[in-house]
Symmetry: C2
Subunit: 159 residues, 2 copies
């Protein structure tokens, strides 16, 4: 269960893009060199993002890319969707689905996990990550080590 580098490149590139002055197209080569991403690879990615309605482009000299909408109106979920990187945990969750979902013991588990992840991705916008608006408290509350420590504390209390 991991995130592709395509997705990571994309978020970094979009973050870079959205932190530059608006209304002016930004060239791929600039972003690529600042973010240390292969130019030709980023071209492909931006193509997808454009076709997916995340970016708009201006061709020709002084051209480049810009956000199709304000950063606070673009969710991470949309970005991943435009990249064709669906969040899938069970085979139940592929396009064609899985005929034996009813009897599959893991169906509900993956449904729950996917729902939880989707919830976060759908409520986080590009602006949030560009401005690092995600509350540190919020992330700490979910920090595995802290949760584990808390669990153990309660466990030993109950004994």
């Amino acid at each position: 269960m991991r995130l592709s580098t395509t997705a990571r490149y994309s978020l970094r590139a979009l973050s870079d893009l959205s932190s530059s002055p608006n209304n002016e197209p930004v060239s791929i080569s600039g972003i690529a060199s600042r973010q240390n991403i292969p130019v030709t690879y980023l071209e492909q990615i931006f193509g997808k993002l454009r076709r997916g309605g995340i970016l708009e482009s201006v061709r020709g000299a002084q051209g480049g890319y810009m956000l199709a909408r304000p950063a606070n109106d673009i969710t991470i979920s949309e970005i991943l969707q435009a990249l064709g990187e669906p969040v899938i945990f069970g085979s139940c969750q592929t396009e064609k689905g899985c005929e034996n979902a009813v009897t599959c013991p893991t169906f509900n588990l993956w449904r729950k996990v996917k729902g939880s992840v989707d919830e976060i991705l759908r409520t986080t916008t590009l602006e949030d990550i560009a401005d690092e608006k995600i509350s540190l408290l919020e992330t700490q509350a979910l920090d595995p080590e802290r949760v584990e420590a808390k669990r153990k504390a309660e466990e030993s209390k109950g004994e």
Copy 2:
């Protein structure tokens, strides 16, 4: 962002294993044929699970595998860990980590997502999935389509 078939095979196989009468070792070939998993592949997987403390084995004729602990004491998180399938979303979350986590705009996002997923995997046991104990209500509340529908309903209400 997807789950490997190794992980899916494993959960199905373990689910099969834990639903058979205790104390008796179950052969790989039996599980493989019931669950339609390549025998030799399942051998590899069970090897990892044994070394990871999830399974115990009995060699020789009438031998096979059995759970090293009660099913309600084995979490999904542990299983994935034994398989060497860490839940990783940012490069920040690899073993070696990522030196620029402090300035990385996506660090907090992936930390939050990972925390949320880990929380579920850590609190769900093998028994839960074998018995399908995960509440249907719980999964429906997180169903993407329902959440989306709800969101839209509230949106149009507010206009």
